[in-house]
């Protein structure tokens, strides 16, 4: 046998029996010869396709030829891999990997470009879906979320306080055309925070109202939450949380009805992007201006809370999920001056700050009876 001839087995692909052959490496391809050295087939190198990518160290190779239908040729002998790598490089591992990799990288590049366009084009899939949520559904979701807060942060029902804070909201809403009215709720909690819920519900936590130094500061906070409502940020957040929950349910089959994952908790824990917060601040400035409420007290609120350590990202404070307080204060103080009118009277402001305190101060009736006049013995 010559140096460029190897033993092999030929199979026509129609039966499982294979035939022993001699395979000669000629100038243009492989000549397949039977035992009588009669050439029975010729496969050009360029037509060869390996059943598995060949390495130069391979001592055998299973080859196909797409032009030869189902036939296979098994060639074995030392040096087979090296010869094939030299004369039919498309059969090698590196050639096939490069071909695949090139296509994969093109695909990856396309995905990267698309992702970049979506990212820098500020496209939000969740917001796109949120725009499709019917108003009634959004209202219902918001109302249910508030209901879920009941055990941990009950609503304060002091009438005078509610009236006072509602006056702030009314003042803000009448300054422009903001569509459907917002609804304000105040809940008792030790954390100073405020958030918007789907359906244009705004929740203020009592400590924030208590720590504010003026009604204008509270107005700035409410205006910011109105900004989120106008941008449908709460609805988009809801879509994201429900999608995640649905995905978990799909993967684990668990019902979404788990106490640890109430929507209120999710909405509190999930955060808007910094861009969304900046946009809400921009809305707040416009809303305050339209309502003729001075924006500077809001800046003081940010600065005061920043110096109090509320810029710590790990805290639950109002400012922990927002852009830097200094940045926000600068934004509000940089606004041109305009004539502002006082939002609430002193009494109304005092009522607003006491919105939750009135409930705490009043003991239950059973306790009142016990604390009454001591009984005297009858003579």
């Amino acid at each position: 046998m010559s140096a460029l001839s190897f033993e092999g087995r030929w199979n026509d692909g129609e039966r499982a029996k294979s035939t022993p052959v001699i395979v000669a490496f000629e100038a243009e391809g492989l000549a397949v010869k039977d035992a009588d050295s009669v050439q029975a087939a010729f496969w050009a190198f360029e037509d060869l396709s390996p059943a598995a990518p060949i390495r130069s160290t391979s001592a055998d190779a299973l080859l196909r030829n797409p032009k030869a239908s189902r036939a296979t040729l098994f060639v074995q002998g030392p040096g087979v891999g090296a010869l094939l790598a030299e004369r039919a490089p498309q059969t090698t591992t590196s050639a096939s990997r490069f071909k695949i990799l090139r296509r994969s990288l093109v695909f990856t590049l396309a995905v990267g470009i698309l992702a970049g366009v979506l990212l820098f084009g500020h496209f939000s899939a969740s917001k796109a879906v949120a725009n499709w949520i019917p108003q009634s559904t959004a209202d219902e979701i918001g109302a249910r979320s508030i209901g879920m807060f009941g055990p941990i942060a009950p609503e304060c029902e002091n009438q005078q306080g509610n009236i006072a804070l509602q006056r702030i909201l009314d003042r803000l809403q009448t300054g422009g055309d903001y569509g459907r009215p917002f609804k304000l709720h105040v809940a008792r909690a030790s954390v100073p925070n405020a958030f918007a819920l789907p359906g244009r519900h705004i929740v203020l936590l009592s400590t924030l109202v208590k720590q504010a130094r003026s009604a204008e500061e509270v107005a700035g906070v409410i205006a910011h939450e109105m900004g989120h409502g106008l941008e449908k940020d709460p609805e988009a957040l809801f879509v994201r949380s429900v999608s995640m929950q649905a995905l978990v349910q799909l993967l684990t089959g668990e019902s979404g009805n788990q106490t640890a994952l109430t929507f209120g908790a999710i909405l509190l824990q999930l955060r808007y992007s910094r861009d969304a917060e900046r946009l809400a601040d921009a809305h707040a400035i416009e809303i305050l201006k339209a309502a003729r409420i001075d924006a500077k007290p809001t800046a003081e609120f940010f600065l005061r809370n920043a110096s109090g350590g509320a810029d710590d990202e790990s805290s639950m404070s109002y400012l922990s999920t927002h852009p830097s307080s200094l940045e926000r204060a600068k934004l509000f103080t940089s606004q041109p001056d305009y004539p502002g009118e006082s939002v609430l009277s002193e009494k109304e402001w005092a009522d607003a700050q006491a919105i939750c305190e009135a409930v705490e101060a009043k003991p239950p009736k059973a306790e009142q009876k016990k604390v009454g006049k001591p009984k005297t013995r009858k003579a």
Binding site: M1, E7, R9, W10, N11, D12, G13, E14, R15, A16, K17, S18, T19, P20, V21, I22, V32, D34, A35, D36, V38, A40, A41, A51, A52, P53, D60, L62, R70, A71, T72, F74, Q76, G77, P78, R97, I100, L101, S104, L105, F107, T108, G112, I133, T137, I141, R144, V242, S243, Q245, A246, L247, Q249, L250, G253, E254, S255, G256, N257, F263
Partner: protein, 391 residues
Amino acid sequence: MIAASLDSSEYTAIEDTMASLTAERDTPPASPPGSPSPLHISWDGNPWSLTGLCFLNMLLIIITLGIYWFWARTEYRRLMWQMVRVEHEPLEYSGTGTELLIGYLRLFAFVLLPLLAVVFGSQLALGPRHPLVAAGGFFLYFILLFLYFVGVFRAHRYILSRTRWRGIAFGLDKGAVGYGGASLWTSLLTGLTAGWLWPWRTVMLRRKLTSAMFFGSVPFKFLGSSGSLYLPFAFIWVSTALAFSAIFAIQFALLRLTQINPKPSASLILQSVPHTAVWLVLAAVPFAIIGLSWYEARKLNLFAHATKIGPLGSDLAATGGTVLWLTVSNWLIMGFSLGILRPVAQARRLRYLVTRLSFSGVANLDTVLRGQEQAGLQGAGLEAAFSIEIF
């Protein structure tokens, strides 16, 4: 095209040439052409030769954001199939990464996405606490389980249809829905019997799968029952039951202790925990592992012995000890490599099976013809999604 027959002297001359050039390989049987002969299966290669490829592919998968994974998976399977030699000729895997990718995208678009939309839409429309949503979630779990089992069958069909030897393809007949249904109801039944139906279920499903397989024009048969599996299974069951009982006893003791003393000291905890229960847990775990290896070896041997390919029978010489070593060493390989060397572990398992497998009976390969070829992509996505292997 090729001379269909050679005279014996010419054939012998070629065989001698082959023997002299491939001295380190097994000598093929010198049988005259055209007559039946026993089939010889062997392994040619080193699973560890995939190591460099695993790390290279990991890099490629990362830089292509995961898209290369489908081609990497195909490449591993091609190389592993090539190491399996029947009559010294390798198996061939003709599947492609493109098929896996398309299958996976179709699975995502036509199954996962609609299901996600239903779940999402119902929660949006009805709210998360609606009874219908809760019931739907429960129902969805069973749908997904059924789809998984159907997927297992179809994934086997995909892999088999892309596996060839001497150009003849394997395949799997229809029966995915029946397989899925049987898997589901036997799962429930197994749960109701505290697991005692597990060996019977395993063999029943294997029978369904094997009976639908074919190689070219030759169908497979499965002629076996689960009886021999029950002894090792009982061993596992009792060990596990003892271990769980002991764990409950320990938990109960700790609970009682914390009710009396909310913050017990370490010494008090040690005194309160029943020592017998602790020893029972420590003893039961290795016993359960031994039992599992014993069971696995018996199962593999049973499957091989029960499988008939036309006139051919097969046997496997797996033992509990070697299965245990293979399993533990593969865990270590995957653990220390953080899963990157999973293909090496898979190749080691395939090598284990191939080197212990033998065929009996005679096979007239002249009569094995090309059968129906299944070119469809059904099962490709599921194979990719669930990383199913047929060995």
